[in-house]
C-alpha cells in the first residue's frame, strides 16, 4: 500500500486566503484607464423580422462611443459546433427569443450605456411564435429557422444490438414517460468580458470562461484574427457549472466593441439578463422502455427523447445523444436504442449544465428501476446489484469499464442508510436510492483530440511554478494539480504556485468541461513533474554518489531509500549554489519540464452507429435520500443524502466532499424547486428571490463515502467527479417520496402541488 505525503489529505484551497480577504480579483473588479462600459439592446419580442434598426438617438447620448449592429461586421455566429452554429452575435434579420441580441453600445459610464440601450429603435414585424416543443413539431407550427423544417434542430436514431428481439425475449416490458424542465445555472458572478485591442491589433480579452484556449480559437474564427494575436485571460471566476464552457455572444460583442472604439471595453450581464438570456439546462421529455426477465435481469432498453433546444443550436443534439451511453453503461444492458428529436422553440436556447444531460436521463432510468423492482417484487437494492456493471465489462455501446465502484457504492450506501430497516421508518418518511454512471476525463469525440498540457519550473529555493492549461472555475482543480505536482516532486503543496487561465502563458488544454481536469490535467502535470523529478534526481544522484533508481523524495528532501539520513534538499538540487558539483551540472541551469498528456484510451464514436469507448474513465456512484412528506401541503423535506461515490483516488478529500455537497444541493433544487417559468416566451421568475434555488435553511445533511477504485489510467488512480454529485439526486428523491407516501411523480421539479394532487388521486382510488 503506497504511502502518499501530499495527496489524499484534506487540503484547503491554495487560493482560499485571497478569497477570504477579498483580494481575489474577478472580472468585474478589473478596471483600466479609459475603459468603456458595454450594454446590449435586446429583443422584446419572441419572434420577429427586423426591418430596420435605428441607432441615431442612442449615438447622441453623451458619453456613447460606439453603437454596433450586425451591419458593422461580417456575421459572427456562436455555438458549440461552429459548423452548425446559427446564433448570430447580433442578429441581422430575425429575432427568435425575447432577449435576442440586437445592438451593442460602449459608453463612458454604465449609466449612459444603459440609457443609449433604451433608445435603440427597432422596426420589428412580429411573427407567430411557438414555445412548446410538442407544439413546435406540429404541421402548422411557425417556422423558426428556414433551414430546419419542422423546427427540428436534429434527429438521432441509434441502436446497439437488436432491441426488437430483446423486447420479444423479455418476460415483462415497462414503459413510462418522464419530464424535466429548464434550470438556470445561477452562478453568483454574472457573465462578463473585458477586451482590449492594442496598437498591433492584438486582442486581449478577460472572460468569465471555463475554456480559455477554446475561446481563443472561437474568437479567432469569428473575428478573423490568427490565434497568435489573441490572448484570453481568466481571473477568478464566480462559478461555471457548464454555463461558461461554450462560446457566448457576450465575449464576441465585447471584442467587437473594443476593436471599434480602440479602448478597453467591459461588458457584464445583469442578473436579469443572466436569467433571461443565458443558456439553461435542456428540458426533456423521455419515454423509457425496459424489457426485463422475470428474475430481474435487463433484456433491452429503449428511450425516446424530445429535447427543447430553445431558439438556436448549442449542444442539444450532443447532450441528447449521450443518453444512449447512459442507458447502456451503468447496468448490463444487452441492447439499447435511442430515438430523439431536438426541437427549436422561441425561448432562450439551452446549453451545457453540470451533468450534460445525465441528470435528466438518470432521473428517468432510476425512477423506472424502482417501478420495475416493485412490479417484479424484488428489492430495489437487489435489482441494481443484480444488473450492475463490473470492472472489465465492455458495454453494448462500446464503453470499456476499466475501474468500477458501482457495486461497492450500492452496498456501502445502502448500509449507511440502514436500508434493511427501511420499513421501520416513521410514517411519511421514506428512503430511496439511485445510481449513475458518468463519463470522466473528457472524450475524443466531443472536442477533437483529448489532451492537456503543463509546464513546470523548479525555483532555486525548491518551490515550483506550475503552468497548467486547466482553468479553475471554482471547483479546486488548481489545488488538486498542485497536490499531484507536490507528491511527485516530493515537496509540500504550499510550495507550489499554480498559474492557469492565461493563454499567453500556459499551454493548451481543452477547458473545464467533461470532468476532464483531474484526469487529463492531472496526468499532464504528473508527466511534467516526473520529468522535473528526474532532472532533480540526476543531480542528487551525483551529489549523493548513488543512482537515480535508489532515490525517493518527500517533504522537500531527496534521500536514498535504504538510508534516508543521506539526503539533500530539493532546493539544493535545484539551486545554483552547489558549485563543488559544477562538473555534475552547471551552476544556475534551471530545472524546467513540459508535458502533454494525450488520452490514449478514448475513441471517436463510429460515425454511423455511435459505437465506441468514448471516454477514458467512468465514474459510478449511488445516492440514498431520506425524505419526509407533509401530506397536507405536499411539501417534501430532504433530511439526509448519502453519497457513495467512486472517485478513483481522492486527491483532495476536502475538495471532493465540497463538490459532492454543492452538487447535491443543486440536485435537490433540480428535483424539488428549480425551474425557469415561461409564459408566452417571457421569463416570469428572473430573480434569485423568485427562482427557488436552495438557501442555507433548505439544507439536508450530506454524508459522503469516497470509494477508491484506482483507475489504471488516472493520475494516482483518480477519475473526474466534478459533475457526479447531482446526477442521481432527483431519482433518489423521487424514489424516497414513493417509499414515504406511495406517490410516483414523473416530472421535475417535484413541487408540493404535484405531490398533493398525486396524493389526492391516490386517495380517490
Amino acid at each position: 500500500m503506497t504511502k502518499f505525503f501530499e495527496i489524499g489529505k484534506p487540503t484547503p484551497r491554495l487560493d482560499a486566503i485571497e478569497q477570504v480577504t477579498g483580494k481575489a480579483q474577478y472580472l468585474p473588479d478589473l478596471k483600466f484607464p479609459n475603459m468603456l462600459y458595454g450594454a446590449i439592446s435586446r429583443s422584446k419580442v419572441a419572434h420577429g423580422r427586423i426591418h430596420n434598426i435605428d441607432t441615431h438617438k442612442a449615438e447622441r447620448v453623451p458619453g456613447v462611443k460606439a453603437v454596433i449592429t450586425s451591419s458593422d461586421f461580417s456575421t459572427a455566429r456562436v455555438g458549440f459546433f461552429m459548423e452548425m452554429a446559427n446564433k448570430e452575435c447580433l442578429v441581422s434579420d430575425r429575432v427568435r427569443f425575447i432577449g435576442d441580441d440586437i445592438a451593442a453600445i460602449a459608453a463612458e459610464t454604465q449609466e449612459s450605456a444603459e440609457e443609449a440601450c433604451s433608445l435603440i429603435e427597432v422596426d420589428l414585424e412580429p411573427l407567430p411564435s411557438v414555445f412548446d416543443p410538442e407544439e413546435a413539431l406540429k404541421e402548422n407550427a411557425p417556422l423558426i429557422h428556414e433551414d430546419s423544417p419542422g423546427n427540428i434542430a436534429g434527429e438521432i436514431h441509434k441502436e446497439f444490438g437488436d432491441v426488437a428481439a430483446g423486447f420479444a425475449a423479455s418476460d415483462q416490458v415497462f414503459e413510462s414517460t418522464y419530464r424535466t424542465n429548464a434550470v438556470a445555472h445561477c452562478c453568483l458572478e454574472t457573465r462578463g468580458a473585458l477586451a482590449i485591442v492594442d496598437a498591433h491589433g492584438r486582442l486581449t480579452i478577460w472572460s468569465s470562461t471555463q475554456i480559455p484556449h477554446v475561446l481563443r480559437e472561437i474568437l479567432s474564427m469569428t473575428l478573423n484574427l490568427p490565434v497568435g494575436k489573441i490572448r484570453v485571460r481568466k481571473e477568478y471566476v464566480g462559478g461555471g457549472f457548464g454555463s461558461r464552457q461554450s462560446s457566448d455572444p457576450n465575449d464576441i460583442i465585447c471584442a467587437l466593441l473594443a476593436k471599434k472604439t480602440k479602448r478597453p471595453v467591459r461588458l457584464i450581464k445583469s442578473r436579469f439578463e443572466e436569467f433571461t438570456t443565458d443558456r439553461a439546462r435542456y428540458p426533456m421529455i423521455m419515454t423509457l422502455k425496459t424489457g426485463m426477465s422475470v428474475d430481474g435481469h435487463i433484456r433491452a432498453r429503449q428511450v425516446n427523447i424530445l429535447t427543447d433546444a430553445g431558439a438556436y443550436h448549442d449542444q442539444g443534439i450532443m447532450i441528447t445523444s449521450h443518453a444512449l451511453g447512459r442507458i447502456s453503461n451503468c447496468y448490463r444492458v444487452p441492447c439499447a436504442k435511442l430515438d430523439a428529436k431536438v426541437v427549436f422553440t422561441n425561448k432562450v436556447y439551452g446549453g451545457a449544465f453540470r451533468g450534460y444531460g445525465n441528470p435528466q436521463i438518470t432521473f428517468a432510468i432510476e425512477s423506472q428501476m424502482d417501478e420495475i423492482a416493485e412490479q417484479l417484487n424484488i428489492d430495489p437494492l437487489d435489482l441494481r446489484l443484480k444488473n450492475a456493471c463490473h470492472e472489465g465489462d465492455l458495454t453494448v455501446s462500446g464503453a470499456r469499464i476499466t475501474s468500477c465502484g458501482l457495486t461497492e457504492s450500492l452496498t456501502r450506501g445502502a448500509s449507511a442508510a440502514n436500508w434493511k430497516n427501511k420499513g421501520l421508518r416513521k410514517q411519511k418518511r421514506g428512503i430511496g436510492m439511485a445510481c449513475f454512471v458518468h463519463s470522466g476525463g473528457g472524450s475524443a469525440g466531443a472536442h477533437g483530440g483529448n489532451f492537456s498540457s503543463a509546464f513546470i519550473k523548479v525555483e532555486y529555493d525548491g518551490s515550483v511554478d506550475l503552468m497548467t492549461g486547466v482553468p479553475d472555475a471554482g471547483q479546486g482543480s488548481s489545488t488538486a494539480l498542485a497536490l499531484i505536482a507536490a507528491e511527485v516532486i516530493g515537496i509540500p503543496v504550499a510550495n507550489v504556485r499554480v498559474h492557469s487561465g492565461d493563454t499567453g502563458i500556459v499551454p493548451v488544454a481543452l477547458g473545464a468541461r467533461g470532468s476532464r481536469e483531474t484526469f487529463l490535467g492531472g496526468n499532464a502535470v504528473k508527466l511534467a513533474a516526473e520529468d522535473a523529478r528526474h532532472q532533480l534526481y540526476t543531480r542528487a544522484a551525483a551529489i549523493l554518489d548513488t543512482t537515480v533508481d535508489k532515490l525517493a523524495s518527500a517533504h522537500g528532501k531527496i534521500f536514498i531509500k535504504s538510508q534516508p539520513s543521506k539526503f539533500i534538499t530539493v532546493a539544493q538540487a535545484a539551486s545554483k549554489t552547489m558549485h563543488e558539483y559544477a562538473a555534475a551540472f552547471p551552476m544556475g541551469v534551471p530545472v524546467i519540464a513540459s508535458a502533454c498528456y494525450t488520452d490514449p484510451i478514448s475513441e471517436m464514436a463510429d460515425r454511423t452507429t455511435g459505437y465506441g469507448n468514448l471516454c477514458p474513465t467512468y465514474a459510478f456512484g449511488t445516492q440514498v435520500a431520506e425524505v419526509e412528506v407533509d401530506t397536507d401541503t405536499g411539501q417534501v423535506t430532504v433530511l439526509h443524502v448519502i453519497a457513495a461515490q467512486d472517485v478513483g483516488k481522492a486527491i483532495n478529500p476536502m475538495a471532493i466532499e465540497g463538490q459532492l455537497e454543492g452538487s447535491i444541493s443543486q440536485g435537490i433544487g433540480f428535483a424539488l424547486t428549480e425551474q425557469i417559468i415561461w409564459e408566452n416566451g417571457v421569463v416570469r421568475n428572473p430573480k434569485l428571490s423568485a427562482y427557488n434555488l436552495p438557501t442555507p435553511l433548505d439544507h439536508s445533511k450530506v454524508t459522503s463515502i469516497l470509494i477508491e477504485t484506482n483507475d489504471p489510467a488516472g493520475p494516482f488512480g483518480a477519475k473526474g467527479i466534478g459533475e457526479a454529485g447531482l446526477i442521481p439526486t432527483a431519482g433518489a428523491i423521487a424514489n424516497a417520496i414513493y417509499d414515504a407516501v406511495g406517490v410516483r411523480i414523473r416530472e421535475l421539479p417535484i413541487t408540493a402541488d404535484k405531490v398533493l394532487d398525486a396524493l389526492e388521486k391516490n386517495q380517490q382510488q
Binding site: Q475, G662, L688, P696
Partner: protein, 161 residues
Amino acid sequence: MTNIQFEVNGETVQLAVEPHWTLLDILRNELNLTGTKSGCEIGDCCACTVIFEGRACNSCLVLAGELDGKTVLTIEGISDDGKLHPVQSAFVNHGASQCGFCTPGMIMASIALLNRDPNPSEDEIRLRLAGNICRCTGYTKIVEAVLVARNAMLTQGRAVK
C-alpha cells in the same frame, strides 16, 4: 453632488457623491474596495453584505446620502494587521469557499452574527445566513466553518469588533 464624510474600515473618507449612488457603487467604484461583490443589485443574494453601523446589510440598497457620519466595515477591514479573523481562518481551513464569489458577503454576515450573538446554535447560524446564496458549496462547510469560528472566538474570549 453632495459631500459626505464617513468611516470605512476605521479610516475617515471624504467624498463627493450623487444621491442615486449606493454604498456598493461607492465601495467598488469610488474607493476601489472591490472585495464586496455585486451579485444581483436588488438584495436577493447578499453577496454585497457589509457591516453598516454594526449591522449586516446589503450595500446595494444603502443610499450614498445616508452614509454621512456613519461607519462601514468591509471584508478588507476585518483582518487584524494581516492576521486573519477567526471566521476567515475557519473558512480557509474547512473548505468553505469554492468559487469564492459569495465568500466576502458570507464572512461579513457571519461576523455580524457572532458579534451580536457569540454563541449561536447551528439553526440560528442558518437563519442569520439564510439570505446569503451560495451555488457551489451546498452550505455544509460554510456552516461548519462558522461553528468552528464560534468555538474559537468563545475560547479566546474575543472582544466585539
